[in-house]
């Protein structure tokens, strides 16, 4: 829209500019004139349900009362938000809404931050004329294990039902009945199991919807809050974390325009429960005996010294770090490379992507992805991997701004929204991508005739046409399955790079700060700032003194070497390879091989149980710093509460170890680290203190930082009552960060090495042909797995660890759904439970990765061998 389209309107006598299509209420918000409202929500379509927003509007028949949330502005429109007529309407609407409202504010969780309370006080009639009995319902009813509903408090604004239908695409709740019997409810016992259910609680303008974990937990006026970034996955949703008496008590989504637009998934929203889980470790342990920090650190330092003296620095390895803040990751990277003298550091656990794919491809942000005319989704079910990216993309599809071409081994949550889905044989995505992007005659016409990766040529041709006709394309890349190798995704990327140089990429990985940890140098071949060891070793020696010669070993290589008995010390940095490394048997063997395993962790996970030393650390909400999401967006973390017991921040552990080993990282606070990063790492240059402060109040910045990126945001006070009643930023023009105008950094710095660019050339992967007796395994990640973050979230539905196969394949071995079978893979033979699922293609088997296993079930990780491109299994009836 150009400025020419804009026109003038009058609000309460003053002139304002407005654009066509804008709603009156939006224009009033921009003008700073508050119109009371209940049903209107800036992130959903208006319904005009509650009538609270009535204002006087000029029209052909003079001034009349109109719902400002429903009516668009017109040129020269006159709007009056305060008049006797408006006041009378507001009185009437509130009196009406309160007819059946129980007014149980003293026992209502919303009391104190309730739009109904607040607006009744501000705009209400003061007294009601109704003496009739109010309606009564059983209270509360459980819409799910997480969401409770007190129906008599409901004012029928339809925010929750609209959210469920329009935003989440999970219309599991709806209005039932009519008139004064109207209620929000579920159908029968089909619970409201949406991954996004908690958002309805956040936007309910009254206390009708409450979340079980917060119910009666606190009063709003006892809460303190800080802005932070969710670390439930790598989307990095902005949220406020609220605490009372030094205890985390509630998280609410912030309306961060480029990221989560006020929504959170339930995993993130209730993530604080994990801070108080039983599995939390609070005291250092050596051989599972509680000891002091001094004893524990001495123990580790001795082992490292001995390793350095005997087996050498290559026998020391650090696995993990993608759950750490950037600063802590940087400290550990510096420790490994300059004090230990090893490059054996890997933030990923073999379940991610090639580091070059993550940091080296031309990037697209979430916004750019949603604005791209075509998005090609290669890999995971993004609703499981990155729920809010799913919401954003679904929203873009619904608005018609983008279309999705999905390339996946089996139907996903995106399938029903996709313009087209190609279901291929697991492990053969790169073949499909190759045939989509390589120029040449249409495939069906080329005479080859055979399907590619299991996809018919006619379908390939249709998908090619989609790509060819689209003026731009963004590829969203991720791992569809832990059972096939990350190399397949690398190959997809290289095929696209070769043939579609204009394409951009968004890489979706699971753990929150994977991107940041790689940026900070927790990768065998990358030093901080996305630079290879070869290129940047000299540069960092100039700053750090010494840097080990590279490259180091990846997690898989370290585990394999450990399993072979030649690693001396393995440090797990908030990592649980036994659960998360694709090949569980290798991870277990490695940790049981006799190397000293040091688990630097907040929770007693499966790997920590095998560790010789446990060093307890703080976790989300207990430590500050920054985190980087999969777009490369750096945003702030807040330390809202103190860590339990003797838990230390991860960076302090690095400093302690360095000291014990006679080194000095030069850090005595997290701020020291961020200052060094700004000074030394070109990628972080310009992230100066004043930006850090604004980061704490902003949507974060995508690095490397150029120009005007930090934009203050607007909170609609009624949209997210729990936040906005405490914080209110008026909308004002961006006060951005301008790189040019920042003082130029010291000229004395040596020549800055180039950042790594994805350069993998495409090559043939020899995917074994599937023999007639085998099934190809798929092991996708799911949102609610056995991870420490989700474990305390009781009541959510988790998939069991059952092997799902097409009935055709089950019939062939003469087994029935629910039977126990023997399943044999290169990693060994196991007993498993099978289930028929005809959405799974013939010749494949699916078992969700790392999900709770009950008696007789097999974990996906047990079936996956190390270093294989794909995993084929055989089933035998028992």
């Amino acid at each position: 829209m150009t400025d020419d389209d804009k026109f003038l309107i009058k609000i309460d006598g003053a002139d304002y500019e407005a654009s066509p299509g804008e709603l009156i209420i939006e224009a009033c918000d921009k003008a700073g004139v508050h119109v009371p409202r209940f049903c209107y929500h800036p992130r959903m379509k208006p319904v005009g349900m509650c009538r609270m927003c009535l204002v006087e509007v000029s029209g052909p028949r003079g001034m009349s009362l109109q719902p400002s949330c429903y009516m668009p502005v017109q040129p020269d429109m006159e709007i009056v938000t305060e008049s006797d007529k408006v006041k009378k309407a507001q009185d009437g609407v509130l009196e009406f809404l309160l007819i059946n409202h129980p007014l149980d504010c003293p026992v209502c969780d919303k009391g104190g931050e309730c739009p109904l309370q607040d607006q009744t006080l501000t705009y209400g009639p003061g007294e009601s004329r109704f003496v009739e009995a109010k309606r009564h319902w059983a209270k509360p009813i459980a819409l799910s294990e997480l969401i409770l509903l007190d129906r008599e408090r409901c004012i029928q604004c339809a925010r929750c039902t609209r959210f469920a239908e329009e935003v989440a695409g999970d219309p599991m709740i709806d209005f039932m009945a009519r008139g004064d019997s109207t209620e929000v409810n579920i159908f029968d016992d089909n619970k409201f199991t949406s991954y996004f259910s908690g958002n309805t609680v956040q936007i309910c303008p009254v206390g009708a919807l409450t979340a079980t974990p917060y119910r009666f937990a606190s009063r709003p006026w006892d809460l303190e809050q800080a802005e932070s970034t969710c670390v439930g996955c790598a989307t990095g949703c902005r949220m406020v974390i609220q605490s009372s008496q030094d205890k985390l008590i509630r998280y609410l989504g912030i309306d961060s325009d480029p990221v989560n637009q006020s929504w959170l998934c339930d995993k993130g929203r209730f993530g604080y429960l994990a801070n108080y889980a039983e599995s939390r470790v609070v005291t250092p342990q050596v051989d599972h005996q509680e000891v002091s920090w001094k004893v524990a650190v001495d123990h580790v330092a001795r082992a490292i010294k001995e390793a350095l003296a005997t087996t050498g620095p290559e026998s020391i390895g650090i696995i993990g770090g993608s759950r750490l803040p950037n600063e802590d990751a940087y400290a550990w990277s510096k420790l490994a490379r300059s004090v230990f003298g090893t490059n054996n550091v890997d933030a990923q656990l073999g379940d991610g992507l090639d580091p070059e794919v993550i940091v080296g491809l031309p990037k697209a942000t979430i916004d750019e992805t949603c604005a791209s005319p075509l998005v090609v989704l290669v890999g995971p079910d993004i609703k499981e991997e990155s729920p809010i990216l799913f919401l954003r993309l679904k929203g873009a599809i619904d608005r018609g701004t983008t279309r999705v071409l999905e390339i996946s081994p089996n139907p996903t949550s995106m399938t029903k929204y996709s313009a087209m889905s190609l279901f291929h044989r697991p492990g053969e995505a790169h073949l499909v991508v190759n045939s989509l992007v390589t120029p040449g005659p249409t495939k069906a016409g080329s005479g080859a005739g055979l399907p590619v990766g299991g996809v018919e040529l006619a379908d390939i041709d249709r998908a090619r046409a989609l790509i060819e006709d689209s003026p731009g394309v963004v590829f969203v890349l991720g791992r569809a399955s832990m059972a096939d190798s990350a190399q397949i995704v690398t190959q997809c990327a290289s095929k696209v790079r070769e043939n579609l140089p204009g394409a951009r990429f968004l890489t979706v990985v699971r753990r929150a700060n994977t991107h940041g940890a790689l940026d900070c140098g927790l990768s065998p071949n990358l030093l901080p700032g996305r630079m290879t060891i070869d290129d940047a070793r000299g540069y960092y020696e100039g700053h750090w003194g010494q840097v080990a010669q590279g490259p180091g070993m990846s997690t898989g290589e370290m585990l394999a070497r450990a399993a072979a008995g030649s690693m001396a010390v393995l440090i797990l940095l908030g990592a649980d390879p036994v659960s998360d490394f694709p090949s569980r048997s290798l991870a277990k063997k490695a940790l049981e091989s006799g190397a000293l395993v040091v688990s630097v962790t907040s929770h007693l996970d499966e790997s920590a149980k095998l560790a010789g030393v446990i060093l307890p650390t703080t976790t989300f909400g207990e430590k500050g710093g920054t985190t980087t999401n999969f777009e490369g967006r750096v945003s702030s973390l807040s330390r809202k509460v103190t860590g339990p017991g003797q838990a230390f921040d991860d960076w302090t552990v690095a400093v302690l170890l360095a000291k014990e080993l006679g080194g000095d990282l030069g850090f005595s606070s997290q701020q020291d680290i961020s200052e060094e990063m700004e000074r030394v790492v070109p990628l972080y240059s310009n992230l100066k203190p004043h930006i850090w402060t604004s980061l704490a109040q902003s949507d974060g910045v995508v690095i490397p930082l150029y120009g005007d990126r930090v934009v203050p945001r607007w909170f609609d006070p009624i949209a997210t009552p729990g936040i906005a009643s405490l914080v209110h930023h008026p909308l004002r023009p961006g006060t951005g960060v301008d790189k040019e105008s920042d003082p130029v950094r010291g000229e004395s710095l040596p020549q800055v090495p180039a950042r790594v660019e994805f350069s993998e050339v495409s090559r043939e992967l020899s995917i074994p042909t599937l023999d007639a007796y085998s099934l190809r395994l798929m092991a996708p990640k799911v949102l609610y797995d056995r991870g420490v973050l989700t474990e305390p979230l009781s009541g959510v539905e988790r998939p069991g660890s059952v092997l799902r196969v097409n009935h055709y394949d089950l019939d062939r071995i003469g087994a029935m759904s629910g039977d126990r079978v023997r399943v044999v893979s290169s990693a060994g033979a196991h007993e498993a439970q099978v289930e028929v699922d005809d959405s799974i293609s013939k010749g494949t088997a699916l078992v969700a990765f790392n999900v709770p296993r009950s008696e007789g079930q097999v974990l996906a990780g047990d079936l996956i061998g190390y270093g294989e491109l794909v995993t084929d299994v055989r089933l035998e009836a028992l």
Partner: protein, 207 residues
Amino acid sequence: MGGFTPDNLVKAKEIIGLYPKARSALIPLCHLAQSQDGWLTPEAIVEIADLLDLAPAEVKGTASFYDMLHTEPVGRYLVGVCTNIACMLGGAYELLEHCEDRLGIRCGQTTKDGKFTLEETECMAGCDGPPCVTVNYRYFLGLDNQGIDQLVDDLEAGRLDNEIPPHGTVYRNSRNVGLTASPTQEPQAGGKSSQIAQPTPTKRGAK
């Protein structure tokens, strides 16, 4: 699944085919399900949702909006007493009370034998002969207490089975709107006019 019978499933698909958007067939399908089972069973709701690509909650939300769609079981005979203005003036409340006594249930309840459900209705457009009583939406106008007793006796004895189809029957003669005639009900001569029965014409109202 146990929603529609195979025959009705065929019919349901035909109905869906009549509309440019499947969702538009929601209410007709609710009627179809109700004519099959006498009420909208949860199984039927789930099946309708599947057929129309909706969530069961959405189907129930719509169905529960309408008084004439029942999401809970009703008796063989659904007796409705209109208590809107004309009928109220014609003694509908007194009549309703008598119905409660006669049937031994409160308004909104179903007799133990599953034969009768009693409900209070809004205007049924029988205002010219108040009070207006309907049984499975067939009209009995101007009944007094004895009239009700007689009606209940007749219903119990099955004497009105020809007049009153099972609950849920929307029509006995299908109009041909691209569908074939309903095979489940016998076509009856006379059409709608035969459904207005006045077995015992009586004086108007009790007062």
